[in-house]
C-alpha cells in the first residue's frame, strides 16, 4: 500500500511539470506584455524596457522557465503584479474559502444525490424516478453561471430569504482563526457569525452542487439497479429480511464503491466549477482570485493559482484511490 502511494506521488512530478510548462508557455507566448500592463498609459518605451529587464522578461524563454520552476520547487511563486504581495500568501488567504465551499457542495451533492439515486432505483419507473432523472438531466445540463443568477433572483431578490453575495454580513466582524468561517464561528461560539456564514454559503453551495448532485444520483441509481439484481440480494430477500435492511445494508453498501469514485472525481470538478460559482457569488476564494488575475494580466498569480488547483485535483484523486481499499477489501494496491 505504501509503495503504491509512493508510486502515485512520484507520478505527481511529471504531471505537475507538464501543467507548469503548459501554463507557463500559454501565459508567456499568448498574453500581453506584463511590463506594459503594469506601467499603464503614460509609460515610455524606455520605462517598459527597464521593467522588462528588471522582471527578467528579456531572457530566453527556457531560462525564464527554469527560474520559475526552481523558485516554485521552493514554494516561491513570485509576487503578484497587482498587489505586490507574494503569490503564495494571496493563494493561502483565499484557499480556505474555496475548500469551505467545495466541502459544503460535496456534502449537499452526496446527501441529495445518493438519496435520490437509491429511491429512484428501488422505485424504478415510478413518478419519482422519472421526475428525479429529468431533474438530474437538468442538473447536468444547466450552466452553473446561469443557475447561480437564477438562484439569486429567486431567493435573494424576490423572496429575500438569503443574501446575494459574499461570505458574511457586513458589520459582523467574525474572528478569523483558520479562515474557515464555519469552524471559526464554532470555535468562538459566535452564533450570529455561524448563521451569517451558513446563510451566505447556502446559494453558492447549491449552485456548485447542482452538477455533481445529478451525476451522483445517476451513478447511484444505475449501480443500485445492478446490485439489486444480484443473487445475494435475492438470497437476502429469500431469507425473509426486511426490504429496508436489504436495500440499505446489503445493496447500498456494495453499490457505493463506484459512487465514491464519482464523488472523488466530483471533488476535483468542484474546484474547477468554483471558478464560475465564485465569480457569480463574489466568493473570495481561489477561483475568483484566478479570474481577477487573468483579467489584470497578473501572470505570476495565474501560474500560482492554476498549479495549486491542479495539484489539489491530483492529490484528491490519489486520496480517493486509497480510500477504495478501505471500502472494498477486494481491491489491493501493490
Amino acid at each position: 500500500m505504501l509503495r503504491y502511494v509512493a508510486q502515485r506521488l512520484l507520478l505527481l512530478i511529471p504531471v505537475l511539470f507538464g501543467v507548469s510548462l503548459f501554463v507557463f508557455l500559454v501565459l508567456h507566448l499568448f498574453t500581453a506584455d506584463p511590463a506594459a500592463m503594469m506601467l499603464g498609459q503614460h509609460a515610455t518605451a524606455e520605462q517598459v524596457e527597464a521593467l522588462r529587464k528588471q522582471l527578467g522578461l528579456n531572457d530566453p524563454i527556457y531560462m525564464q522557465f527554469w527560474r520559475f520552476l526552481t523558485d516554485m520547487l521552493q514554494g516561491d511563486f513570485g509576487r503578484s503584479l497587482m498587489t505586490r504581495a507574494p503569490v503564495m500568501e494571496e493563494i493561502l488567504n483565499r484557499l480556505p474559502a474555496t475548500i469551505e465551499l467545495a466541502l459544503a457542495s460535496i456534502i449537499i451533492a452526496s446527501a441529495v444525490g445518493i438519496t435520490v439515486g437509491v429511491i429512484s432505483a428501488v422505485k424504478q419507473y415510478s413518478i419519482f424516478d422519472y421526475l428525479s432523472m429529468i431533474g438530474a438531466l437538468a442538473g447536468v445540463s444547466m450552466p452553473i453561471f446561469w443557475l447561480g443568477l437564477m438562484l439569486i433572483i429567486l431567493f435573494s431578490v424576490t423572496l429575500g430569504w438569503l443574501p446575494v453575495s459574499g461570505r458574511t454580513d457586513i458589520g459582523l466582524d467574525p474572528a478569523t482563526i483558520t479562515n474557515f468561517y464555519i469552524i471559526d464561528s464554532l470555535l468562538t461560539r459566535d452564533w450570529d457569525a455561524l448563521v451569517a456564514a451558513l446563510r451566505h454559503l447556502a446559494l453558492p453551495a447549491i449552485a456548485l452542487a447542482s452538477y455533481s448532485t445529478a451525476i451522483i444520483a445517476r451513478m447511484t441509481r444505475s449501480t443500485m439497479l445492478e446490485v439489486i439484481r444480484q443473487d445475494y440480494i435475492r438470497t437476502a430477500r429469500a431469507k425473509g429480511l426486511g426490504e429496508r435492511i436489504v436495500v440499505y445494508r446489503h445493496a447500498l453498501r456494495n453499490a457505493l464503491i463506484p459512487v465514491v469514485t464519482v464523488i472523488g472525481l466530483q471533488m476535483g470538478q468542484l474546484l474547477g466549477g468554483a471558478v464560475l460559482t465564485e465569480t457569480v457569488f463574489s466568493w473570495p476564494g481561489i477561483g475568483s482570485l484566478l479570474i481577477n488575475a487573468i483579467m489584470a494580466g497578473d501572470y505570476p498569480l495565474v501560474q500560482g493559482s492554476v498549479i495549486i488547483i491542479a495539484t489539489t485535483y491530483v492529490v484528491v484523486n490519489l486520496v480517493v484511490d486509497v480510500l477504495y481499499s478501505y471500502l472494498d477489501p477486494r481491491i489491493h494496491y501493490s
Binding site: M38, Q47, A111, S165, P284, N292
Partner: protein
Amino acid sequence: MLSRSKFTLFTVALLIMALALAGCGGKADNKQAAEKVFVFAQGSDPRGLDPAFVDDGESANPIVNIYDTLVRYKSGSTEIEPALATEWTPSPDGKEWTFKLRQNVKFHDGTPFNADAVVYSVSRQLPPQRTDDMPYASFTFGPVQKVEKVDDYTVKFILSDPYAPFLANLAMALAAPIVSPAAVEKYGKDFIDNPVGTGPFKFAEWKKGQQIELVANKEYWGGAPKLDKLVYKFVKENSVRASELRTGAVQAMNGVDPNDVKMLEDAGVKVIKNPGMNINYLAFFSNKKPFDNPKLREAVSHAINRQNLVEFLYQGLAELPNGVLPSFMPGYDKTLAPYDYNPEKAKQLLAEAGYPNGLKTTLLTYSTVRPYNPVGGDKLAAAIQADLRKVGIEAEIKTYPWKEYKEIYTPEIVKEGDMMLYGWIGDNGDPDNFLSLLETKEIKSTLNTGKYSNKKVDELLVKGRTAQAMEERNAAYSELQKIVEKDAPWVFLSHSKDMAAYNSNVEGMDLHPTGVIFFRDVDIKK
C-alpha cells in the same frame, strides 16, 4: 453506512438548519441600525491604497475618501478649489508655485499635517527616489524639479518650465494625495495595505476579495462626515451587483450594465448618467494623401451621422461632443458648432475635392471594447462605414487587437490606412490634457494619432500652458478650439457617460466627472 435512523436524523437536521437559516436574517441589521453604514459595491479589489503605486479606478475610489489633496475639484466639474492648501500663487515667470497650507489638520495616525508632510509625499515620487512601478509619478509631477519647505505651513514647488495644468495635477486621485510620512516610514512596503491620510474617512480593515472598511474621521477639517462607516464591497458581476442593490444590502454601486438601467429604475433605484472625462474620435491621417486635403476631412465630417451614433449605437448612454473637450471642463467653448450631418453637402465637397465619382479609403479600428466606446471598435467602424457609403465613400475596415493596434501608428507616416478610430481618457481635468493631443510635438510620442500639425494651434497650446490667469488661458483655448472645429483633424464622435446607481434613501450622492465618488457629504435617510 448510515443506518436508517441516523439517516432520518441527518435529513431532519438538514431541514431544521435550512428553516433556521431562512428565518433568522434580521439580526445583523439591528446591529447596523445604531450606526450609519454605507455599503458601496464595486467590481474588484483596489490594486492598493498607496496613491503613488496605483493607476486603477478601483483604487481611486477609496483613495479620494481616505486622503486629501492640496487642491481639489469642484463638484460636477474639473475646476479647482482649495483643500489642504488654502491659497496659492505662481511666480511671475510661472516656474515657482507657493502654497499656503491649512493649519490644525491631523493625519489619521495623529501626526500633524504640515510642510514636511507635503515635501515627503511629493519627494518620494520625484527622482532620484521615484521608482519604475509608480505609474503616475512622472505624469503628475512631470514638470516638478523640487519641492521645498518655506516655513511650517508654506511649501514651494519649483518647475522646469511654466506649466499651468500643474495645478490640476495636484487634484488628481493618483500620485497627488498627501500621505502621512510617519505611517509610510512605519509600514514601509506594507503602506499600500495600511493607508493613512487626512481625509474624511479612516482606513479600518481590508478583507482581500471581500471588502474594505473605512470609519468616519470625526475630526475632519471639513466637518465630520455624516456616515459612520463606509464599506467598499467587491462584487465582480454587474448584474449581481445590481441584485445586491435591489435587496438593499448595498446602498450604491458603480459599473452599471446598460441592460440593467431600466430594470433598476423600475425598481425605484436612482441611476446617475454623467458625461465622463473622455472622447471617442475618428482621426484622419492629415499628414498624407488623401486626408491632407481639408475639404475631404470636412466632407467625411458632414457624412457621419453622429446624432444617430449617440442615440442608437450607444443607446443614449453617450453625449454628442462639440469639440475635443467635454462640456464640464474649464476652457470648454460653448459657442462651438462642429460640421453637422449633411450628406448632400458631403457629396458636393467630395466632388470639389476632386472625387466626383466617390473615394476608396481605409478605416483602422480595434477589436475590443474601450471605456469611451462601450460597443467596441468593430461595431463603431461598421456604423461609420454605412454612413460613408451613402455619400459614395467606400471605406475598407481593418481591425486589430488592442495590443497590436497601439503599435500600428508609428510616429512616421502610417503605411496602411487613411483614418483610425481612437479615444482618450482624461487624467487631470485640465483642458491641456485633451487639447495637447493635437500638438505637433506629440506626433513623436504617438499621442497625436492623426499627425495633425498646425503652427497656430501649437502656439496657442504653449500660451494656454504658460499663462497664469484662467481667463487668459480660456481665451487661448477658445481660439484653438475654433481652429480645430474648422480644420477637422478629428470627427468628434461621442463622450461616453459614466454610470452609478443608488437607493432612494441616499442623499448627496454624485458621480464626479473623474469617475470617483466623494463620500464626505453623502448621507442615508432613515
